[in-house]
Chain length 137, copies 2
DNA sequence: GTGGCTGCAAAATGTTTGCACGGAT
DNA sequence: ATCCGTGCAAACATTTTGCAGCCAC
């Protein structure tokens, strides 16, 4: 389908390229409106999906909070904090050879893979320690 | 919380232990009722969550179809067919050392990880080939 | 008898869709 | 002029919740 330029799609894309974490459609909707940029929630949903399709961003299934969008479509890995449920990018590089290996091993045509680490982020670890301490006294 | 035995939870657990793929709550609901085992959808949801909590099964975010449940809580890897959207277990073993490595690299307390391979399953590859062929003639 | 578990229906949540209008090409 | 994109509200799919009665302990 031939896509036309639209002010709203540009708003969404610019917002996505500037964020550092991972956002829901609702997040984008609220952030843009807070900035005074009027846009409807349905349009945010539509454009996030279109931008995913255009490989500008990536839609990912959050382990507990529905779908979130990633500022890039480049494959990389994630850390999920089971305590605060936030999602972070992992610091290591993408291991492309896992794809070719799985390709041969499974008989599938593999495009890419993603790794999701489950754990507790430093912030929540500290909070837990503080709680442990306070519980002891 | 103290858990009491219930006929319905046993039904759900038995069903989960016997399946080979990955199922939604709706799937479990329909399958059990088809077998003549009366159970309500809300109870299926409740028990799937309880069983996850008890580490008998695992709730996973399907990349496109909401949540599905895995017959085991043992960490392992998955293959997702972007064509038919079915989810399969990967044939390779869990690499525990990825967790310790990420632990050191990130400063997080890592529990486990999962790898999701994206690709096209053999069945869909064949279908696509057939289509290509038919389109040519 | 207490308190968890169930079915049912209602509610809540998250996302998509139909439609008439406005804007890009 | 065409037809894609928008806002709005309604529709929709999925999951959760409140409640009264039932059942396990």
């Amino acid at each position: 389908m031939i896509r036309k330029h639209s002010k709203q799609r540009t708003l969404v894309l610019n917002y996505m390229k500037q964020i550092t974490s991972h956002v829901s459609a609702e997040d984008v909707f609220e952030a843009l409106n807070q900035e005074g940029k009027a846009i409807s929630l349905a349009t945010v949903y539509r454009n996030l999906d279109i931008l995913s399709e255009m490989n500008e961003i990536k839609k990912i299934a959050h382990p507990v909070n529905g779908y979130v969008y990633d500022k890039t479509a480049e494959p990389h890995y994630h850390l999920h904090c089971v305590c605060c449920n936030r999602l972070f990018d992992a610091p290591n590089a993408y291991v492309k050879k896992l794809d070719t290996a799985m390709n041969e091993q499974s008989g599938w045509h593999i495009y890419s893979h993603s790794i999701l680490f489950e754990g507790v982020c430093p912030k929540c670890s500290n909070k837990a320690d503080a709680n442990d301490r306070s519980e002891r006294f």
